[in-house]
């Protein structure tokens, strides 16, 4: 891993980093990844990834939810007619 990798990860994660912090994060990540790499030594044989996942369904009926749309809207940095307003994407 090098500084370029840290910069790339920060870009993917949408996080602006100072030069100094890139260096310290690189050192931290190398030490943490060095430790978690120990999973390489686990004997897993031919076991494949398995997820005991299942869907949780409910009837498609609308139920009353207690929440305050006013509090949500009040926290928008910018809004128009009750909608959140953001800068254009393209």
């Amino acid at each position: 891993m090098d500084i370029k990798d840290v910069e790339n990860l920060a870009k993917l994660a949408r996080i602006e980093l100072e030069e100094e912090e890139k260096k310290s994060l690189l050192a931290d990540m190398e030490s943490i990844l060095g430790y978690v790499k120990k999973i390489e030594s686990a004997e897993i044989g031919n076991i494949k990834e398995e997820y005991n996942l299942y869907n949780v369904w409910r009837e498609d009926i609308s139920e009353k939810r207690e929440f305050s749309p006013e509090i949500i809207k009040k926290q928008f940095p910018d809004s128009q007619e009750g909608f959140l307003k953001v800068k254009k994407i393209l």
Binding site: R14, I32, Y35, E40, I71, I72, Q75, V86
Partner: protein
């Protein structure tokens, strides 16, 4: 004067019902204590301005002859659980202006019983840490030695209970965040079975690991809060039903399995090992059967955790984009808005974990890290299922050391290693409890230690049973 030191939820209930004091008297006693001590300890980030009003409402209900286990009981709430209309910051600058628009399900359940919310308590930012040193709003200090950390991430909630600034508290536990500080401060902390308590309204860190749990002075008190907040919830599809796991019957003689090879391994303080061995001996004299057990992959749990947790955290925290939660930094375009908001207002540990999670999930590394970690997680789950065929409980120390000094662990990995005993319950999804197991003297201060018990999925009753027996016989 109400003697807060000896007061428990159980005894306060009796006294409130017998009109020995009112809910307003009780709330006022806690407010006075908070005023005296919170400046130094930094357990609470905010004391709600309607505490006495809440207490008045509880008194009205008591006057009508109503009685619920938590009616009029003052509680502290970890600053990751939403209370409608109140500020919730997760101890992060990115949420410093955020107000919750709804109640978390656990809050709704507590409100139905008429519990009093005193305020919100300090944590490691987004619950990432084991000391509250990662809070954007200052560290919470250990009441047994204020040079030391409280533990974390639910440090503020735990200190509130340990210092008589609340009768009980809610924390959240992703890798030990209720149990480890409970051990460091000498109180009871519990993590229920994964899915037992709804997480609707809990700010998420690692969604396959996060659990809300109680922190209290006694096991009975923990059971009272647990019984109030548990249950399936349409707003959280990961909640389980009463039938998901069979509740094991209570036996006369419970069998405790001890993974001695892990307990006696490297990185565990000698005093911790001694205290643990002595505590296990006590359990033996109290009529428990002790059995030596071992797991093939138990020593992998911490590494598995520090892959899965950052992966899930990086995904969960992508929602904080500066658009919907109060804080916004303006750049030249939308991308710059994101980069600036997230760069400036996430703390260092949060940035570290987001980057780590982004790395282990990225193309080319996914199979080697996240994929492999999931395989080992499932292997460990199967090992635990097997182990619980032969034992009722598994015991370890809660933490490998006493609370460390503030600033002592500057290397993030060294702080992560403190989670060695607690993370397994989250990886496997089983319930666990930390009980105070005595003190050791360090530099003239008596510092608490804890013993942790895990039980099989759905077997919280065994944790409470063992804990109550230990409390009764140990005193």
């Amino acid at each position: 004067m109400i003697d807060l030191n000896s007061l428990t939820i159980t005894s306060a209930r009796k006294k409130l019902d017998a009109r020995e004091f009112s809910a307003v008297d009780l709330a006022q006693a806690y407010l006075n204590e908070i005023k005296k001590k919170n400046g130094e300890l930094n357990a609470y980030l905010e004391i709600y301005d309607d505490v006495l009003e809440q207490a008045k409402t509880a008194d009205d209900l008591i006057a009508q002859g109503k009685s619920y286990p938590l009616l009029g009981i003052p509680l502290a709430i970890k600053d990751v659980i939403l209370v409608r209309g109140k500020k919730v910051t997760a101890s992060s600058k990115i949420l410093e202006n955020y107000f919750a628009s709804y109640d978390a399900t656990v809050i709704e359940k507590l409100k139905k019983q008429g519990a009093i919310f005193l305020g919100r308590t300090n944590i490691d930012e987004f619950a990432m840490g084991g000391s509250t040193e990662n809070s954007a709003f200052g560290v919470t200090k250990n009441p047994h030695d204020t040079r030391r950390v409280a533990g974390g991430s639910s440090g503020g909630s735990i200190v509130a209970v340990a210092s008589n600034l609340a009768l009980g508290a809610l924390g959240s536990d992703t890798g030990g965040s209720v149990r480890e500080p409970a051990a460091f401060c000498g109180i009871v902390g519990m993590k229920p079975t994964y899915g037992r308590v709804s997480r609707s309204g809990l700010i998420a860190m690692g969604s396959s690991l996060d659990c809300i749990g109680p922190a209290t002075k006694t096991v009975e008190d923990a059971e009272i809060i647990y019984n109030t907040i548990r249950g399936s919830d349409i707003l959280d599809s990961t909640t389980i039903s009463e039938e998901t796991y069979p509740k094991p019957p209570l036996k006369k003689e419970l069998i405790i399995g001890v993974p001695w090879d892990l307990v006696n391994g490297e990185g565990i303080d000698r005093e911790v090992k001694e205290n643990f061995a002595q505590t296990i001996k006590k359990f033996k004299t109290f009529g428990f059967n002790i059995k030596d057990i071992s797991f093939k992959n138990l020593d992998m749990a911490l590494a598995v955790y520090y892959i899965i947790m950052p992966a899930e955290a990086s995904t969960n925290l992508s929602r904080f984009d500066g658009m919907r939660y109060g804080l916004h930094k303006d750049g030249k375009n939308l991308l710059e808005d994101y980069m600036l908001t997230r760069g400036l207002d996430f703390g260092k540990e949060v940035r570290r974990r987001i980057l780590l999670g982004t790395y282990v999930l990225s193309v080319g590394y996914y199979d080697a890290y996240y994929g492999r970690a999931q395989i080992i997680r499932n292997m460990l789950k199967k090992e635990f299922t097997e182990a619980f065929k032969n034992v009722d409980l598994i015991a370890t120390p809660t933490a490998p050391s006493v609370a460390w000094k503030i600033g002592e662990k500057s290397n993030p990995l060294s702080a992560y290693l403190a989670d060695i005993f607690t993370i397994t319950a989250n990886i496997v999804g089983v319930p666990a409890i930390s009980l105070p197991s005595g003190f050791i003297e360090v530099e003239g201060k008596k510092l608490p230690l804890g013993i942790q018990f895990m039980a099989s999925h759905g077997a919280e009753n065994l944790l409470f049973e063992a804990g109550k027996k230990f409390e009764a016989l140990n005193n």
